[in-house]
């Protein structure tokens, strides 16, 4: 059940240019959160910016009741958020989303993420690792200036492959191509993906064509984040062409089974 809390900012770090990691005290949210859940942040008490901002949960420190999220400064909302200082209270609703990453039945899995889409994969990998699963990571970035969280993801994966589109850091090309190559040998039982839409489409196509379980975390413009306004619609794969039907990212998602959605 989601709660609204005023969470105290206790740590703030600009991990690479324009991307901030926040650690906040939010025991009520942390206790009931699962990997893949997100939160909605009201960045100011003013009437503008009006709506809350959806941000994924990056890390849950259940012991200390600390929640971590990472965000990129995009427009006015994330810009205001980035100016919060240690000790400030941040208005957060969470955990949100009934569609979360499911790990239990798989023993050998792969996570694949691109750019700022890698954040929700961290808590998933951490929990999978703790449960003794074998987990490989494939993270793609534009170039060496955008590479982030390498150390953190190394700690929660068995093998980590970093790619850059231009080859300016480690492997050149797209993360999915490296995953495909490894698949022959590794036979992952499930692929977990989050990132830019073009990347997710390639991952989805590959998984469906090869009959591999695949869970994808999606984004869409949201009004309420609670499943009320029905704004963040995503088409169901089953719906007939002339009569589209929809799930909602905030309620059915943000994580969906790749075979259930069309985006």
């Amino acid at each position: 059940m989601p709660k609204k809390v005023l969470a105290k900012l206790i740590k703030k770090e600009e991990i690479i240019k324009g991307i901030f990691k926040f650690s906040v005290e939010a025991k009520e949210i942390v206790n009931s959160s699962k990997p893949g859940n997100f939160i909605e942040i009201r960045v100011s008490n003013q009437k503008d910016p009006f709506l809350r901002r959806p941000i994924s949960i990056y890390n849950l420190d259940k012991e200390n009741g600390i929640l971590e999220f990472i965000f990129q400064v995009k427009g006015s909302g994330t810009n205001i958020l980035s100016e919060k200082e240690i000790g400030d209270k941040i208005d957060i609703i969470g955990p949100l989303g009934n569609g979360t990453f499911k790990i239990d039945k798989y023993n050998k899995i792969a996570i694949i993420g691109g750019g700022i889409g890698i954040f929700p994969l961290y808590e998933l990998a951490k929990q999978a690792k703790k449960q003794g699963k074998i987990i490989d990571g494939y993270l793609g970035f534009r170039n060496k200036d955008f590479v982030m969280l390498e150390k953190e993801f190394k700690e929660v994966t068995d093998n980590l492959i970093i790619t850059t589109d231009d080859g300016s850091y480690q492997n050149k090309g797209f993360a999915i191509d490296y995953l495909k190559e490894k698949m022959e040998k590794e036979k992952y039982e499930c692929i977990y993906a989050c990132g830019p839409i073009p990347m997710l489409r390639v991952v989805q196509k590959y998984a469906l064509e090869n009959n591999i379980n695949c869970q994808i975390s999606l984004e869409e413009k949201m009004g309420c984040g609670l499943g009320v306004c029905l704004g963040c619609a995503v088409k169901t794969a089953k719906s007939p062409k002339d009569k589209p039907e929809y799930f909602h990212v905030c309620k059915g998602g943000p994580v969906f089974n790749a075979k259930d959605v069309e985006f």
Partner: protein, 302 residues
């Protein structure tokens, strides 16, 4: 201190309701507070048959507000009656169903069913800007409004509220059509038709191109229209458009609203409706008002 009001025959513990389409059927917000604290819950726009709504993106933020083009996605009246109504009934609040159709026959069919349900009132939505047929097509002329409303009035015994679109030249004459057709009340305003363009894609942000504007940005327009309508008709008014606080609510009541509704304000804070009730009480205390109904329409013009 007495916050009770009688709105079109519906006895409410306070004038604060939650607006159609911004509160679902209540479940999600009951995670945050007891729905019994509200004067009434107005449901999502509900139609005879389920509707799947428009293509995404369906919402986008604008200055102090938002645009939406949900397209009345809803599970249909049968599903509502079997699943949502029994749930809502558990709370000590009034239930008003927002009804939409795409033809007069459909409105009538739907309201025949609603008439048999355990609900406290019907709000006819003649004002959704986001669906091609119906709704607003009836909502923007005196004759159109009067025709649908009269036909529904004939078969509906429950309190009948008609929701008006602000996208018209003369809101007062439309409200007159509602009154002349025998409805019990009007509610206004629905969203103002708007558009936002992504300047890099050179395309509208919403897949539907246009959408309905709501939030604090539209409040002055709504207050003005409530005032104009209150001068034109004798039936009570449900005022809404951009309300997010007790002060906002009081403004609408002074302009002539008997009850008010919180719409997009629910999105920015699930407790907006509750804070609005508290804010109204604070105002009453500050200004020594014993009965909230005493302030309805009490604005004095310059």
């Amino acid at each position: 201190m007495n916050t009770k009001i009688n709105f079109a025959g519906i006895e409410m513990k306070n004038p604060v309701t939650v607006a159609s389409g911004t509160f679902g059927y209540g479940r999600e917000y009951s995670d945050f507070f007891d729905l019994g604290l509200l004067g009434a819950v107005i449901t999502k726009g509900t139609s005879l048959k389920p509707k799947s709504g428009n293509k995404p993106p369906r919402v986008c933020e604008t200055a102090s507000g938002m645009l939406n083009s949900i397209g009345l996605q809803n599970p249909g009246v049968e599903y509502f009656a079997n699943n949502d109504l029994p749930y809502l009934r558990k709370f000590d609040t009034k239930i008003i169903v927002n009804a939409c159709g795409s033809s007069i026959d459909e409105y009538v069919e739907l309201c025949k069913i609603l008439n048999t349900l355990d609900i406290d009132g019907v709000e006819l939505n003649l004002s959704c800007p986001n669906v091609k047929e119906g709704c607003m097509a009836f909502g923007n002329t005196y004759e159109g409004v009067k025709e649908v409303t009269s036909k529904v009035r004939k078969i509906l015994d429950k309190p009948l509220i008609v929701k008006l679109t602000p996208n018209v030249t003369d809101i007062a004459s439309i409200a007159k059509g509602v009154e002349d057709a025998g409805a019990d009340a009007v509610s206004l305003i629905n969203t103002l038709l708007g558009m936002k363009i992504d300047i890099y894609k050179k395309r509208p942000v919403l897949a539907n191109n246009t959408g309905g504007l709501s939030g604090p940005a539209i409040k002055p327009v709504a207050v003005r229209m409530v005032y104009q309508v209150s001068k034109a008709v004798n039936i009570p008014i449900m005022g809404l458009g951009g309300i997010i606080s007790g002060e906002d609510a009081i403004e609408f009541m002074l302009a002539g609203a008997t009850a008010i509704s919180i719409g997009a304000g629910n999105f920015i804070d699930p407790y907006t409706s509750i804070k609005t009730i508290d804010g109204i009480k604070e105002y009453m205390k500050k200004c020594n008002i014993e009965n909230i109904s005493d302030i309805i329409g009490k604005v004095e013009m310059n």
